[in-house]
Each structure stands twice: as C-alpha cells, then as structure tokens.
Amino acid sequence: MDQVDREILEKIQDGIPIVEKPFSEIGESLGLDESEVIDRLNRLIDEGKVRRFAASIAHIKVGINANAMCVWDVPDERVEEVGSICASFPEVTHCYERPRLDDWHYNLFTMVHGKSRKECEEVIQRISERINIDTFIILFSDKEYKKTGVRL
C-alpha cells in the first residue's frame, strides 16, 4: 500500500458520496483520474486489505436490538473444532479464540445478534447443544459507548 492508496482510503473511510459517479468525485478532490481510484480500490480488495465496499448499518435503528457476547470455556484440544462449528451459525457474526488469564478462564468468544435477548439466548442454547459445552456466560450489551469502524 503506497501513499496514494492511503490518501484514497483516508478520504473515503467515513463514506463515499451517494451520487452517480462517486469515484469520479473522490478522484477530483484528490487530483486523480476516476479510473485510477477504481483500479486502486479493486486492487486493495483483491489483496484482501479492503474486505468489501458496503454499508455499515445502525443495528438498533433497524430492529436488531440485542447484541450478546457469549464467552465459552472450551478445552484447549477442542478449540479448533468448536470454533468452526460456532462460526457456521449465521447468527454468529464474530468468533475468536482469546487467551485464558489467571482470573479469566473463558477462551472462546462469539458475538450473536438478534431482534431480542430471548432470540440471542435461543441461538446460544442451540450452539451449546451442538458443541456439548454448557460452561458459558452471556454478556449482553447494556449500553453502547462507542462504535466506529476500524480507522486508518
């Protein structure tokens, strides 16, 4: 990624203009041709640095009111298997293995979104039965203090 790539990404990380030719407008403001902006962005997508171009939605506003971080205590030798099963649930949007600490024993984290807390709990119950693990804690989000995308 060179300086020009960076300038383009910084320019658009808060959103592209909603006009017929957004990349032309972005190019103009940076002194670049439309085609160069498009080529560079598609290369960044091919390289995997940009996952995709898409809308970030405001979940609560669209009725996805519940957001559960479910933490599981998974035996180390089962993490690979259990992590893959959890990830296969469409309601699970994020799934990570994280370290255990002296006072923290839960090593698998899954984020579950739903229309209500009950809906999240039902999904987590189904996951629990599938992976045959019932040592978990659900941490619902009670308040959102901040949510932005990852910024450059």
């Binding site: 990404l9 658009i12 808060d14 959103g15 592209i16 909603i18 006009v19 017929e20 030719k21 032309s24 439309e34 498009i38 962005l41 598609n42 960044l44 997508i45 390289e47 640095k49 940009v50 996952r51 995709r52 171009f53 898409a54 809308a55 970030s56 405001a58 506003k61 669209v62 996805i64 957001n67 971080m69 690979e80 959890c86 469409p90 699970v92 949007t93 994020h94 799934c95 990570y96 293995e97 994280r98 370290p99 006072d103 923290w104 984290f109 979104h113 804690i137 659900i138 941490l139 619902f140 989000s141 009670d142 308040k143 203090y145 901040k146 949510k147 932005t148 995308g149 990852v150 910024r151």
Partner: protein, 150 residues
C-alpha cells in the same frame, strides 16, 4: 421499514461493486431506476439506518494489530471511564456489558498500527484508570464481520 428498504439494506451490507456507476449496477439487480436507488439510499442515511457506505478494512491485512480489553468499573464511575477510553481514536468499540459473576463490565476493542502503539494506549489507560483491567488479544480468528440478514 418497508420490504424495499429491507432488501436494499441486505444488498448494501453484502457489498457494492467498485465500478464507474456502482448504483446503476446495483439498481439493475434490484429492478429499480438508478435515480430512485440513489434517493432511497440518501433517505436511509438521513434516517440513520445506515451509518455510511465505504470500505470495510481487514485490519490485520493492513498490518494493524488489535485487542479486546475489559475493565471492572464501579457503576458511578462508568461514564467518566468510558469517556476517557473513547477519546482514543484507536478505540473502535466500547460497550457496557453486565453479567452475574463477571467483575469486568466495560468491554472495548483497540486497533492500532503496530504493537508499540497498542501497548502505549493500554499503558496510558492503566495510568489513568486505577481499576482492574484485562487484555485479551486474538489468538485465532474463526469468523469476522459478516452482515446481518434483515
């Protein structure tokens, strides 16, 4: 929200093509006029259903490093601590999550350009905030950032 708006939000989360006229291409898929689609998207932005349309970064492919962290904060101190943490641009998410038996209630993520920067931010938070803090970096990634079907 009407059916059109729901379909539109699903499409827009999945992705828009990076071409000269992305909304023209998308409008064909949805069977709409380009101008209608543009108006609908502007209205979704105005109403706050969409925060933005833009690039979704793969932080690790960009060489960035990130972690989840949590602090055990007394209830009356929550706003002060949350506001202090939010001041760091590198903090991308910050939530109050309360569960029985879990002392940690303020959960946040930090994404920084390298490990030194990440350490610096965590140290700075530890200096200012005297409550117990745990740092839980990603060991293995199974799934990340998939869209929600509406």
């Amino acid at each position: 929200m009407n059916e059109l708006q729901k379909n539109l939000l699903n499409e827009l989360q999945t992705g828009i093509p990076v071409v000269e006229r992305p909304f023209l291409e998308l409008s064909k898929r949805l069977g709409l006029e380009e101008s209608t689609l543009i108006e609908e998207i502007r209205s979704l932005l105005e109403k706050g259903y969409i925060r933005r349309i833009g690039p979704i970064f793969d932080a690790s492919a960009l060489g960035m490093v990130g972690t989840l962290a949590a602090i055990a904060v007394p209830e009356e101190e929550l706003d002060r601590v949350a506001n202090f943490i939010n001041r760091f641009e590198e903090v991308s998410h910050n939530y109050l999550r309360v569960a029985e038996g879990v002392p940690y209630n303020l959960w946040f993520t930090v994404s920084a350009k390298d490990n030194d920067e990440l350490d610096r931010i965590i140290s700075r938070i530890k200096e200012e905030i005297e409550y117990p803090l745990i740092v839980l970096p990603t060991k293995r990634l199974f799934k990340i950032g998939v869209e929600f079907r509406l």
